[in-house]
């Protein structure tokens, strides 16, 4: 996508202690009766960031978004937008706009008047409204649909009208509630990149709520993984995937093998861990847990190598096992390998060559191996 990669790589205000957050949730709690939807949550979002709130349904991510939009008031705590506490500002006076999951297009208005609705509320002169609406229609490539009513549009077109409507007022922050949830897979993938381009071009702050981890990984600068009203981890997609801070995050994002065990030796940023299956893992570890403490070892399937011969490199961890099941997916093959202890691990291997002579077959004895930095130690 254009030069996007370069811009993205250098965009990391969260790593800069001098950078001021654009949106701050400070000790925000939201209760509905007895139910705590958001639990004493603190979070910073930076200007021009594409920020994703990711979690299962009921984790509080939508409530957080709705508090930002002004539809819910926090039970306690404060929400600061651009240096201003917005808790007492009603939704219709906030400089944020939202794209609704259901799109919430006004069925009795044309595409044009839907997009111009917010501008009319601000009392903008008619000719300026027309100009801005035309600009928005162009932006979402719907020029020829201006006079249609929402029910005369396809799902993808409706989504774009909703987007144009929420962008028309040039909000400081655009909130997107499951923006791509109602689209089919192919359209969803296309639209993901369109949204990213748009955010980049307009220089806006986007906060998106999604339960689709792939969507969050593709689009967001940073992801907040949420569960039970709390943020479990906030980090870039790569950090979330490669260095999950907890069993929950490791398990929630992508596929993972988790081996439980005890730390047997620790030091020099490395530890040795004996899994409950009696398998010794030597791995790098950022924080060094004390020897004897319980820990888990998480490793992604693609980091595991399956081979017929034992690896010769001494720094490599290896275990012998038997092929239990094979799933051929085209681009890769997934092996389920039963280790000596009976534990089954999942390993995926890229099918880089079109034809492989003598592929690994069911019930074959194989070695599963991985390097010292391939996995993560989870302390809990």
């Amino acid at each position: 996508m254009k030069s996007l990669g370069n811009i993205r790589r250098s965009f990391a205000p969260w790593a800069d202690p001098a950078a001021k957050p654009f949106i701050t949730f400070r000790n925000v709690t939201k209760k509905f009766g007895d139910f705590t939807a958001v639990d004493n949550l603190t979070l910073d979002i930076y200007h021009r960031e594409f920020f994703a709130l990711l979690g299962a349904s009921g984790c509080g991510k939508s409530t957080l978004l709705r508090m930002l939009a002004g539809f819910e008031r926090p039970t306690s705590g404060e929400i600061i937008l651009d240096g201003q506490d917005i808790a007492s500002i009603p939704p219709y006076k906030r400089p944020v706009n939202m794209m609704f999951q259901s799109y919430a297009l006004f069925p009795h208005m044309t595409v044009e008047s839907n997009i111009g609705f917010g501008l009319r509320q601000d009392g903008m002169p008619k000719n300026e409204i027309a100009e801005r609406v035309a600009q928005m229609l162009k932006l979402v490539k719907l020029e020829q649909f201006a006079k249609r009513k929402p029910h005369q549009l396809s799902g993808g077109q409706r989504q774009r009208v909703a987007l144009a409507r929420s962008l028309a007022k040039r909000p400081k922050v655009l909130l997107l509630d499951e923006p791509l949830g109602a689209l089919d897979k192919k359209l969803r993938e296309e639209t993901q990149f369109e949204l990213m381009d748009l955010q980049q071009d307009l220089g806006l702050t986007f906060v998106v709520v999604t339960h689709d981890q792939e969507e969050a990984m593709t689009m967001a600068d940073r992801i907040a993984v949420m569960s039970h009203g709390k943020v479990i981890q906030v980090a870039t997609p790569a950090e979330i995937y490669e260095a999950p801070n907890s069993r929950f995050v490791a398990d929630f994002i992508g596929d993972v093998n988790i081996l439980d065990g005890k730390v047997s030796a620790s030091g020099n940023g490395k530890i040795e861990l004996v899994t409950n299956d009696g398998f010794t893992v030597r791995t790098a570890s950022a924080g060094a847990p004390a020897s004897g403490s319980a820990a888990g070892f998480a490793i992604r399937p693609e980091k595991l190598k399956v081979s017929r011969n034992a690896p010769t490199d001494a720094t490599v961890n290896a275990a012998e096992g038997e092929v239990w099941d094979i799933g051929y997916l085209g681009d890769m093959t997934v092996f389920y390998v039963k280790l000596g202890s009976g534990k089954v691990v999942k390993a995926s291997m890229l099918n880089a060559q079109r034809e492989v002579e003598n592929p690994i077959a069911y019930d074959e004895k194989v070695w599963v191996s991985f390097g010292e930095t391939a996995g993560v130690v989870l302390k809990d």
Partner: protein
Amino acid sequence: MSKLGSAIFSRLVIIIPYAWLLFFFLVPFLIVFRISLSTTAIAQPPYEPVFALADGLSGIWAKIGEFSFDNFVWLTEDALYLNAYLSSVWIAGVSTLATLLIGYPIAYGMAQAPRSLRPTLLMLVILPFWTSFLIRVYAWIAILKPEGLLNQFLIGTGIIDSPLIILGTNWAIYIGIVYSYLPFMVLPLYSALEKMDNTLIEAAQDLGCPQITAFWKITFPLSLPGVVAGCMLVFIPAVGEFVIPDLLGGSQTLMIGKTLWNEFNANRDWPVSAAVATILLLILVVPIVFFQNAQAKAEEQGR
């Protein structure tokens, strides 16, 4: 066999109610029209001409020649009828508007109520409908009489000194119509408002609309089908209303339903009352067709 069975089944399902309605709903209107063209007679039935098979074709043809529009001419010449029509439409119109103004906040309040409470509220709106219409009108007599409960209350609390004369005036009719037809207004409004997607209101607020503006720009336009249905359900029967003006209105109150009733029962003038009914039907054709279109549209959307 199955196909034949299916064909017979579908035919019967259509034909039986169709035939019933043709015979008991459409044919009677044709008869009304035919009698409106006849003249009064002191006979049984009290009009002429009367067809008989014995007349033969030529005899019937000769009798058709006796048909005339005299009754309709008569209606236009007598100011009583014209006034009755006009005042019926006026009273029905005022009452419909009043019912809408009272019914809308109720329906809106019900649609905003907690979801668990809504079936009960709906039940409470429908419940009075199950009690007799006549009873509900009757109940107002005791309230509106000069020495009735309303006046007792108002005088007792010192708001007024001398009793308000309501019973026997158009005010009593307005109250009676609003009261009796309120559920017919509330129900279609409620079902239109209850369906409303709340996120539309949130979207409007998000785009800068205060709550009241959002109501007028989004909620109200989207509830218009309910408004139309409710108004038609009140207006059309109210124009031809008989019981309410008869029991609550005074002798000087003119409404066409009452006029028709008197013409028929007291004067036994069948041709004139048939003509009155024909004109009333013509007046109501436009709103009825309007109502049917709205119904058909709702039916299409439900499909």
